[in-house]
Symmetry: D2
Subunit: 343 residues, 4 copies
Amino acid sequence: MIIILKSGVSDEQIEHVIRRIEDMGLRTHLSRGTYRTIIGVIGDEARLQDAPLGAIPGVAEVIPVLPPYKLASREAHPESSVVDVAGVKIGGGYLGMIAGPCAVEGHERLDQIAGAIKAAGANLLRGGAFKPRTSPYAYQGMGEEGLKILRDVGDKHGMPVVTEVMDPRYVDLVERYADMIQIGARNMQNFSLLTEVGRTKKPVLLKRGMSATVVDLLMSAEYILSQGNPNVVLCERGIKSFDTSARNLFDVAAVPTTKGLSHLPIIVDPSHATGRPDLIPACALAGVAAGADGVHIEVHNCPEQAMSDGPQALLPEQYAKLAATIKELAKLFNKTISALTPS
Amino acid sequence: MIIILKSGVSDEQIEHVIRRIEDMGLRTHLSRGTYRTIIGVIGDEARLQDAPLGAIPGVAEVIPVLPPYKLASREAHPESSVVDVAGVKIGGGYLGMIAGPCAVEGHERLDQIAGAIKAAGANLLRGGAFKPRTSPYAYQGMGEEGLKILRDVGDKHGMPVVTEVMDPRYVDLVERYADMIQIGARNMQNFSLLTEVGRTKKPVLLKRGMSATVVDLLMSAEYILSQGNPNVVLCERGIKSFDTSARNLFDVAAVPTTKGLSHLPIIVDPSHATGRPDLIPACALAGVAAGADGVHIEVHNCPEQAMSDGPQALLPEQYAKLAATIKELAKLFNKTISALTPS
Amino acid sequence: MIIILKSGVSDEQIEHVIRRIEDMGLRTHLSRGTYRTIIGVIGDEARLQDAPLGAIPGVAEVIPVLPPYKLASREAHPESSVVDVAGVKIGGGYLGMIAGPCAVEGHERLDQIAGAIKAAGANLLRGGAFKPRTSPYAYQGMGEEGLKILRDVGDKHGMPVVTEVMDPRYVDLVERYADMIQIGARNMQNFSLLTEVGRTKKPVLLKRGMSATVVDLLMSAEYILSQGNPNVVLCERGIKSFDTSARNLFDVAAVPTTKGLSHLPIIVDPSHATGRPDLIPACALAGVAAGADGVHIEVHNCPEQAMSDGPQALLPEQYAKLAATIKELAKLFNKTISALTPS
Amino acid sequence: MIIILKSGVSDEQIEHVIRRIEDMGLRTHLSRGTYRTIIGVIGDEARLQDAPLGAIPGVAEVIPVLPPYKLASREAHPESSVVDVAGVKIGGGYLGMIAGPCAVEGHERLDQIAGAIKAAGANLLRGGAFKPRTSPYAYQGMGEEGLKILRDVGDKHGMPVVTEVMDPRYVDLVERYADMIQIGARNMQNFSLLTEVGRTKKPVLLKRGMSATVVDLLMSAEYILSQGNPNVVLCERGIKSFDTSARNLFDVAAVPTTKGLSHLPIIVDPSHATGRPDLIPACALAGVAAGADGVHIEVHNCPEQAMSDGPQALLPEQYAKLAATIKELAKLFNKTISALTPS
């Protein structure tokens, strides 16, 4: 940690800062420059992470040197992690192909969609039973009934299933049905919920918040990891921007940025990132070319009747075409797509 | 609602769109322009709010005419609402003066701070018992013990108290101790939590999320209102921006924007909006001049020992100076500050 | 164009709006809905583009139906344009490989770099003679001397050259030396400059401004096209964002968005979009996978001695490795890279 | 300047960094921490401003300690500057009241508007003769004819005049007619233009670019100051944001932020910052309460016939009401408004 002092700081103030740091069991190294005096902190910086050093009189700026996430950092774990979702691997050379409708709407519809996407190459089935909707008057999902249908259809097709949980009171319930638990973008900093899923044994798909930096995302992953659950997959799904031509701004550079900082797998979700079927294929391919460990796509066989987010769904035939190109890219970049047992 | 069709739309597609809308019990009005055909929808637009009209082939764009929030809208309730927090009024000409430390850290400290800010003119005491912290390793608050201290100190000084709840499982607990329940920025779209506080009888202080538009904020208020709790006070506390000279970007225009759209009171929180004591007074005054119904300020008597957010706290004497100027502005703009019984 | 009137608009006001529009030679179509009255405008919307209809009493919102750019729009020119830069084609299936140092620093250095990047697969040489620098104290470029060196080295290696112009007074000078004229991001809305390059006969590389929407970019292209110069290549080079982990935010979705709206080629510049050599290769590949018509990369053989932007340059060997993968992607996506005569 | 080295940096690399810095005539101070080695640079940091230290192998981050603007910084000039525009003072306790139409449209109209705003309290007349328009098909201004009218009307009413220049070739022309030269937001980083107005003797009104940080704005001011023109007034006029409820986001905190960093006056322009007459008064008052040195407002007596930006203009009577409240605020904050000779 480096502490830059204000110009004109008094010797007394410098003394006070040094004493505060040394009281916390660390050593200091004073450097008087032409314009500014700087204090380098030597020792375990983590002890200071929570100390309000910036509030000490005379301090201009506090610059941490270590990342505030430890378990998520690549320094702590140089090799890329592989997360195993009931046999389907994501990360470390494995590409996850997650697809399915926004919401579980009924057994027959989900069965049709699952059959189509599995044939196209998907290896993980998604579907929401609890839907976070901006409007209290909008469709909120089927609840436990939806979880049962998802489990059933997943089992029938031999596809592991992923579904979202929004409320810490339902984590146990969702854990019983799902192979992977999703935390949505709006809950990325719902710390109670993160703590609760960190106590489960199921892999977690953690979506980036719409105004979260990559570091914020890693801090939220740290909440889950610090509870003992090492199986976190990150997901870039678009952030806020002034250009409203798409629903969000797809930050493809978040993929290599995250890979530099962390060992955790990161996938892309161009469906939520753009909200526009005409942009989804190009962004999905961009994500894979940038090194993403998987692609998450919403697919519906009748978007105009979808209970949620219909306008952004791909049709099964559009997904099949996209998945075929993803497979070619995967080959070019030496990525493996975990195979399922044919249904 | 106006539906703009794609250029080159077929008559069959137009027919299909019209049928879908009429099946939902609404009438349509077709208008063929030089370049585009447009369908006006006549009747209760709310019935269509959840329908994926944008996914129907031939539809280019769907433009709603009514705001998607009803109870929060000024059209539904032309007069500005006044929210009464245990005798302290906010809105409709009343200015709330909320102040206190970021976190409740102990009885003595809170008592000192409460005494000082009350003397300066604050009429509502804030203090966190559950703290939403970006890092799992940071101080998380005193929990119920903190709530007790807050209640005690509030009662001693005759100040109503406001504190944050982060988890739907703790809403009952917080409701027992607090006069006003705060929903923090990171939970603005935690819909389970919004629903739960909507079921309480206590006024709610709803903070704007860091990437929420004003409309998003009103939609979240609608969640609370739709559960039967009419006492919602909105709070502008800074949004994300590319300019990182302050912690967030204080969106003072959100005050008149919100007042145009909604009857709900809106206050400003320059402490979180800027995170910099040198900017807080100017932004607080700007907020009042722009028409805000109150000011929320973090105050600590020893910022360098604060357990949370020390570097952004004002000292009691800085707060006193600011509060004196706010009172002059209030006079200029004919605003009333609810008086407390002297302690 | 659709004009939505305010609720409570008077008949007199409606009459006035209609008269204003009909006075401009257009017809109207009135539609009274349950909540709002709407006026559809029939006829050549372009006549109204400049009229302040939003200022007429009673008007709530004015929604244009046609894009405000005509020459740049895909509706006006359905086939993708191919821009020919002294024999090197960009767009319509051709991938431009632009590379070179940020600034021309001397003959020998540029010669070395040009030799290396040509061997790696570049087919257009870039280098700045006039540098737009944030600081007045920073290196401002070699001026005409730099242009001469660029021309010379380009000729020696048989590579067409592209260089930036910042000032309308230097357009003639730059046109004499360059095969393609670049307009930098900071000048994307320098309308005098756009008009001036629109009068030249040379292809223009138009970079997206840091806070320009895709539509803003197309409006700036329209300035050039409307002067009679049809050879415009757009360039995505990163926009402003709250996440400062990279210099800018690489908006890869701008590639398919632009291609949907316009026939003009669009390339990507991951060097300026990220400013980080560790992110450039991933973003370059993402751009090509998303359908970009070319890749613009800064290369320097001794970044620590570069006069400008050294920290973001790739080394020649890094470029060679990246270019090899780009060629594989090009093959996968059936793109052609115009060949140069071997030097 | 502080140079943070990468973890695992070799002694040879450290040596190389130190040599590079010492070769530039500066001294270094090495500090080996537990996790990172840091090099403090002692001496005139400005010598390094242009050196690509970040490109040297082993360097992780370069943190400058001094601001890159010197003449604009408050360290260099602790007292607030007062800029005198033909007798009207701005800054250092003086509040400039700039008002007028977006564009000069004719003598009679400008004369009417000038009479009305002067009566209301404006002391500087604005009006555009060269208009930067997003569309090449939009009204571009009256040119020199407009400048003549502006000069004439200003003289008649005894009001100094301010008008925009967009092209370095017209700086001489504009300087002949104007008392203050405006650089618009889109040209804030048009460095040729900044250099050219820096060579004039007239005060400059420099508007903040839509994606410029406060530091970027000060760097652009530095261009003008470094050419010998010390009379620069900054102007906050809204930046880009994801919330599109107003045209731009009015960054009122930029006022105190700038005042902390620089001695230059800063005014606010709520007309361009919001583009909405219903928000302009609240934002103007917010700006003054936050400490702005002036207010820039667009006023038109018939917005629906305005040649440019009609929908955002205030009517003269709206301006008069606002100006009256601004005067009360000025009194409260001890600000003086330079008086004009009555016409």
